[in-house]
């Protein structure tokens, strides 16, 4: 067997699995999104427009707000960790990396529900009235908090890595001219680490948009919902593959937009 054939033979089985269970289903969802009652039509998309346009906006809004919070907090926290250092905090921020999404969903549910542990604790100090407990879970705020909590770990890891790659000499030059910690972050670290921040943001935005288990567990029962929850309910409760796939296509389009933006940024970046 020639080396070329050998390497293709080695590549074939894993490729087959990914093509069979990712690329074919991907194409099939594109195909089925245009099929209604056994015929080609755009009615699935019409239905998405009629029923789910608010959900699409809601999904984008929740993802964008979570992303801004995650990146903003990470940019500042990492600046502190890079310039001053705090080993305990740095370790603590890694913990959520290893906590699965479903566990985050459940944990936040128990913590933030109207009768959750947070309200119990706040009532102890007299901050809230237990007769009419506020609910954070089952609202957009619950989803945002859970997404931020889970993704902050990854953001801190990536941004801190990028900050650490910035040569100490640039920071010393700024310090030498009298720059405060905040100014060093704003004027040196952030601009120099910007490409890595774009990469991290692009990746995290798609992952938030596509998040399923967290909104499934902590989102409200009423619309609007996150897109992935809509897809799941459409299949599970209405057995409506056409509309579910049309919703899926909408999510792919956003993902492709993000990927395109990401690719443009990394190719345009000066060498």
């Amino acid at each position: 067997m020639t080396p070329r054939l050998l390497s293709l033979a080695v590549a074939a089985p894993p490729l087959a699995i990914v093509v069979w269970l990712f690329f074919l289903p991907f194409l099939s969802s594109a195909h089925l999104s245009f099929i209604r009652d056994g015929e080609w039509s755009l009615r699935n998309y019409a239905l998405v427009w009629r029923l789910y346009k608010l959900d699409v906006l809601y999904t984008l809004g929740v993802s964008l707000l979570s992303l801004v919070l995650v990146i903003g907090i990470a940019a500042l926290v990492c600046g502190y960790l890079r310039l001053v250092g705090h080993r305990v905090v740095e370790f603590l921020f890694k913990v959520p990396l290893f906590v699965p999404f479903v566990v985050v969903g459940h944990g936040m549910r128990v913590l933030l529900a109207p009768r959750g542990t947070l309200n119990s604790a706040l009532a102890q100090v007299g901050l809230i009235d237990l007769g009419d407990p506020p609910s954070i879970a089952f609202t957009w705020a619950g989803i945002v908090i859970a997404l931020v909590w889970k993704n902050l770990a990854l953001a801190v890891l990536l941004v801190l890595g990028a900050y650490r790659a910035v040569d100490e000499a640039y920071l010393e030059a700024a310090r030498n001219l009298g720059a405060s910690t905040f100014r060093q972050i704003k004027d040196v670290l952030l601009p120099m680490a910007a490409p890595s921040l774009v990469v991290a943001s692009a990746f995290m935005f798609t992952s938030m948009l596509a998040s399923f288990s967290i909104p499934l567990m902590i989102g409200g029962g009423e619309p609007p919902q996150m897109l992935m929850v809509d897809v799941y309910y459409r299949i599970n409760y209405q057995d409506d593959l056409g509309t579910a796939n049309a919703l899926g296509m909408v999510s792919y389009l956003f993902a492709m937009g993000v990927a395109g933006y990401y690719l443009r940024t990394i190719t345009v970046r000066p060498v």
């Binding site: 699965p100 009768r115 542990t117 990854l154 796939n245 792919y252």
Partner: protein, 272 residues
């Protein structure tokens, strides 16, 4: 003894406060799980559980939770072994040789990361159903392998790329065959990275939720799906115990391996 500068004292206090604050943020959802798992009775609106105990721990470890843990563990082991067998040779070839269509192959293993999984897996479930593999362990193993292969191909290719080619050339040069050089030089040097990658694959499969929920239902139950069911069914004690058990492998890894794992592997863990 010189008195510390007042600024130093303030700064030390602030640092401590920052640590405590972050610890609170991080542990708030996790500690709620711990409290609930030991709760026997907790009637609203009491601030604390009325009765604590191991009642639910004892109960669940004999029942469905244990079976879900068992089958989830079994599936994760199979997924890990199969993924290693398929990926190690491929990753080595991709790292070292001009494999035909290399860019296209790498792209195939990259794209699943860039798209939402759920709608794709919905259709994959249909395909598996047609192949009579839905609601079976084999079906769940296969759907897990899609994600597992994606992680493994990229991390393992990076591992082999990080080993200088000259180390193997030195062995060939002294008369070692390619196979011999692979096993005496490349493999021993790649082992730490391959272990990290293996743990990542295991953890991915053990924690996988979306694919298992779609493909495994109703017969194959793993811990994440079991936890989801109990949580939305308001069996909060049982769900909390399941959640705590689910966190064990990941937290063990974090504590044991945090020093040794390079950040690029760590960032992979964050995507589970």
């Amino acid at each position: 003894m010189p008195r510390p500068h007042p600024g130093t004292l303030i700064r030390a206090t602030l640092r401590m406060a920052a640590g405590v604050f972050v610890a609170f943020i991080i542990f708030a959802p996790l500690s709620s799980l711990v409290i609930w798992s030991f709760t026997r009775k907790w009637f609203w609106p009491h601030p604390f559980p009325q009765e604590l105990g191991l009642f639910y721990w004892r109960k669940v470890l004999e029942g469905d939770l244990f079976r879900a843990l068992q089958s989830g563990f079994f599936i994760a082991v199979i997924v890990t072994v199969l993924t290693l067998l398929l990926t190690i040779p491929l990753a080595y070839l991709l790292a070292r040789y001009p494999v035909p269509f290399k860019a296209a192959i790498l792209l195939v293993f990259l794209l699943p990361h860039a798209f939402p999984q759920l709608p794709v897996f919905v259709n994959a479930t249909t395909l598996l159903y047609r192949a009579h593999l839905a609601a079976s362990v084999s079906g769940v193993v296969l759907i897990h392998m899609v994600g597992a292969l994606v992680y493994a191909v990229w991390t393992m290719t990076a591992v082999f790329r990080s080993i200088p080619a000259s180390l193997e050339e030195a062995a060939w040069n002294l008369g070692a065959s390619r196979v011999k050089a692979f096993f005496t030089v490349a493999m021993p040097l790649a082992t730490p990275g391959l272990i990290a990658s293996t743990l990542l694959v295991f953890l991915y499969s053990f924690d996988e939720f979306t694919g298992t929920l779609l493909v495994g239902s109703p017969f194959v139950l793993t811990l994440p799906v079991y936890m989801y069911r109990t949580s939305v069914g308001y069996e909060l004690q049982v769900a909390s115990i399941a959640a705590l058990i689910l966190m064990v492998p990941g937290l063990l890894l974090l504590v044991v391996l945090e020093r040794y794992l390079k950040s690029e592997y760590l960032s992979m863990f964050g995507r589970i």
